[in-house]
Amino acid sequence: MATNKNSYITELVEHYGRSRTSLMPILQGVIEKNNFISDHDMTDIARELDLSAAQVYGTATFYSFLDTEPRGEYIIRVCKTITCDMHGKRQIIQTIEDMLKIKAGETTPNKKFTLLETNCLGWCHEGPAMLINEKPFSGLTPEKVHDILSEYMHK
């Protein structure tokens, strides 16, 4: 019955404790480590915190930054809200899609990039904006995106 628990879960639980309030930092810790939270990780966390698996699933699915599907090494989140949209978000998405040969919501076959749309990033004054993992980029143009992505592709 006991599955092999990933050691990072044990470390996170030891670090943050077993109270229910530790759930969020533990989930964020898994994201930092893995870019997504697998069903195995969720059940391991639930077991450690004496929660039900459905409760952990509920928390993880509530937050769009807690991904529950496998993601690439770099997650690109382009702001889809109205200001960025009016500043040309569509061209930005188009450029990324052309460069990576994937559509929004997909991950490249080499698991390097995932392209997502996201709600407001708070960069409305410098839209369109996007995040690559934790790093924000604003005032985007197709040319600028091309340069940024090229750099990441060679990383």
């Binding site: 019955m1 077991r47 039900s52 698996a53 459905a54 409760q55 699933y57 509920g58 769009s64």
Partner: protein, 604 residues
């Protein structure tokens, strides 16, 4: 105001619809209004659960406040002026219900809850139907989980009030259901949206009891039972659980707490069942088997000093509890009594002993049970429950389903005469009746065990062992000193038998955790999965609340007091079956038919 008494709460004065009222501090507007007999409609609110305040149907208008507070969640404050029926409130409520309906698959005539749905009730009360809002149902992809033998979950009818989520967490500590996703994507979901049969759901049906719509319902077997009844080649036997006879009336328009045993028997005969028998008979049999099992475990522990014997021993009548312990404390499965539940003992005996006596071929016998329970449907379908060579119990109907069948047949239930159970396997005792309430199995067992060990009747007035009578929302511990025992039980002399009674799985979890942590030193544990025991079961008439369950409980004890025989070992048919068929308690035949084993399951 100065408080001299610490228990006395500060009084708050407010005005509701022009009437002044003083209530304790901390009272909600809803509770204060109810005191004045002012009815504020509710939907997500349920007396058994914590306040959620998410449906907004109970909004009221507060003077000098711009927004409309939810009456169920807002505590009263001094000088508050509330209007529950202003133009603003009426319009807001109507819009709220219409918005809920815009996301609700409202094909009411095809719905199992047609007529008892709370949302339908509000819609008819508020005369909704202006089609102010777009119908969003066709644009959604809803999941309907029909894979379970006990409970069906239909998301298209769900209004996301979260009563089920709160029930599963607060009352049962299971949380098989949770809230997943956010905003307009929010849904009530199991882990990764797995079907209910794959997750930790115990099938207790408490969510079904509290769901205001048809989103969570029991899987009904009404048509299958009618088919069996109309099939002239089939002999259809029905058994009725103790808690059905004190609640069935509610499903047929009678007030809670009515004992309808005789009328229920009459109704079942008129529906066309060939033989109307009583689960109480096997409840008594359970006491004989389980009592002897307890004594044999005590003997092994105290006299033979066998380190392998599992104590404390826990009851195994409640299938919700069984599935819970299989998931949550699989290491304690050896502590469960190996006795099957009375329903399954009955099923196994119908297709063996009963057929033998009545000269019937078991393949032509259909065994039906009427239960206060949805988990019994799952139990009857367990692969272990085929010891007669056939499926021991073919169909399990809830109290609610029987209510529907009686209505379908056009019977005027209240005017039916009182009739008696058929024989054989129809005789019962007061000890069996109290199986329907928390603490009942414990009390019945003690009535018998004490007498077996000491040769004397238990020294409680009127056989009422009140210290073990459980209370809802509480774990009850009691101990019983055994003195002047018979010579063959000398190892029990002076032993203090430690018992604990718990109802509701949240309390069961507490008891088992104490046992696991070595904090508790019990001999005998009685656990019922549902609040109040079977009388509050997931198959009982809707609605349910503490008042209703208290009335049902009173009715059960009343029924016990009214029985001429009140100890299981004095049931004449039980004595007969040992003489004619089973031999002795825990004997070879018993093991084959009346005992079982359990399956460890994953919690995660």
């Amino acid at each position: 105001m100065k408080n001299t008494n610490k228990d006395m709460k500060k009084q708050i004065n407010l005005t509701i619809d022009g009437i002044e009222v003083g209530v304790d501090e901390g009272t909600t507007i809803l509770e204060a209004a109810r005191k004045l007999n002012i009815h504020i409609p509710t939907l997500c609110y349920h007396e058994d659960l914590c306040v959620a305040g998410n449906c907004r149907v109970c909004v009221v208008e507060q003077e000098k406040v711009k927004s409309l507070p939810a009456a169920c969640a807002m505590p009263v404050s001094e000088g508050m002026v509330i209007h529950t029926n202003s133009m603003k409130v009426r319009l807001a409520r109507k819009h709220i219900v219409e918005l809920l309906l815009s996301e609700h698959h409202a094909d009411c005539t095809k719905c199992y809850k047609n007529g008892i749905c709370e949302l339908q009730g509000l819609a008819s009360q508020m005369l909704t139907g202006d089609h102010l809002f777009l119908d969003l149902v066709p644009d959604h992809k809803y999941t309907i989980d029909m894979f379970n033998t006990a409970i069906i979950k239909d998301d298209s009818r769900c209004i996301r009030c979260q009563r089920c989520v709160r029930t599963c967490e607060e009352l049962q500590a299971v949380s098989a259901l949770g809230v997943a996703y956010r905003g307009n994507h929010m849904k009530i979901s199991t882990f990764f949206e797995h079907p209910l049969f794959e997750v930790v759901c115990t099938n207790c049906g408490q969510c079904v009891n509290r769901c205001p719509t048809g989103a969570l319902i029991e899987r009904n077997y009404i048509d299958q039972v009618w088919d069996a009844i109309y099939d002239t080649n089939k002999h259809v036997v029905v058994q009725t659980a103790p808690a059905v006879r004190i609640a069935l009336g509610e499903a047929l328009g009678m007030p809670p707490g009515k004992i309808v045993t005789g009328r229920m028997v009459a109704a079942l005969k008129r529906l066309g069942f060939d033989s109307v028998l009583d689960t109480d008979f096997t409840a008594d049999l359970t006491i004989i088997e389980e009592g002897n099992e307890l004594l044999s475990r005590l003997k092994k522990a105290l006299l033979d000093k066998d380190p392998k014997v599992s104590l404390p021993m826990a009851t195994s009548c409640s299938p919700g509890w069984i599935k819970f312990i299989e998931h949550t404390f699989p290491e304690f499965l050896g502590n469960l009594s190996t006795c099957k539940s009375p329903q399954q003992m009955f099923g196994a005996l119908v297709k063996t002993y009963y057929c033998q006596k009545r000269k019937l071929d078991a393949k032509n016998v259909v065994s039906v049970s009427i239960m206060p329970c949805t988990a019994k449907k799952f139990e009857a379908n367990r692969p272990e429950m085929r010891s007669s060579g056939y499926k021991d119990v073919d169909y399990v109907l809830t109290t609610r389903e029987l209510g529907i069948m009686i209505k379908q047949a056009g019977l005027d239930f209240e005017s039916l005469p009182e009739e008696h159970f058929d024989s054989i396997m129809g005789a019962s005792t007061g000890a069996a009746v109290i199986f329907g309430t928390t603490g009942g199995v414990m009390e019945a067992a003690i009535r018998t065990v004490y007498e077996v060990v000491t040769g004397r009747e238990i020294p409680f007035e009127g056989l009422n062992i009140t210290p073990v009578r459980g209370t809802e929302g509480e774990v009850r511990e009691a101990s019983l000193k055994l003195e002047k025992v018979k010579p063959e039980w000398s190892f029990l002399e002076g032993v203090e038998l430690k018992c604990v009674v718990a109802n509701g799985l949240a309390h069961a979890k507490k008891v088992m955790q104490d046992v696991k942590d070595g904090k508790a030193n019990y001999h005998f544990i009685e656990i019922m999965a549902c609040p109040g025991g079977c009388l509050g079961g997931g198959g009982q008439p809707i609605p349910t609340n503490k008042d209703i369950r208290t009335k049902r409980k009173q009715a059960i004890y009343e029924e016990d007091m009214g029985m001429s025989i009140r100890k299981s070992h004095e049931n004449p048919e039980v004595q007969l079956i040992y003489k004619e068929f089973l031999g002795q308690p825990l004997g070879h035949k018993s093991h084959e038919l009346l005992h079982t084993h359990y399956t460890p399951r994953k919690r995660y």
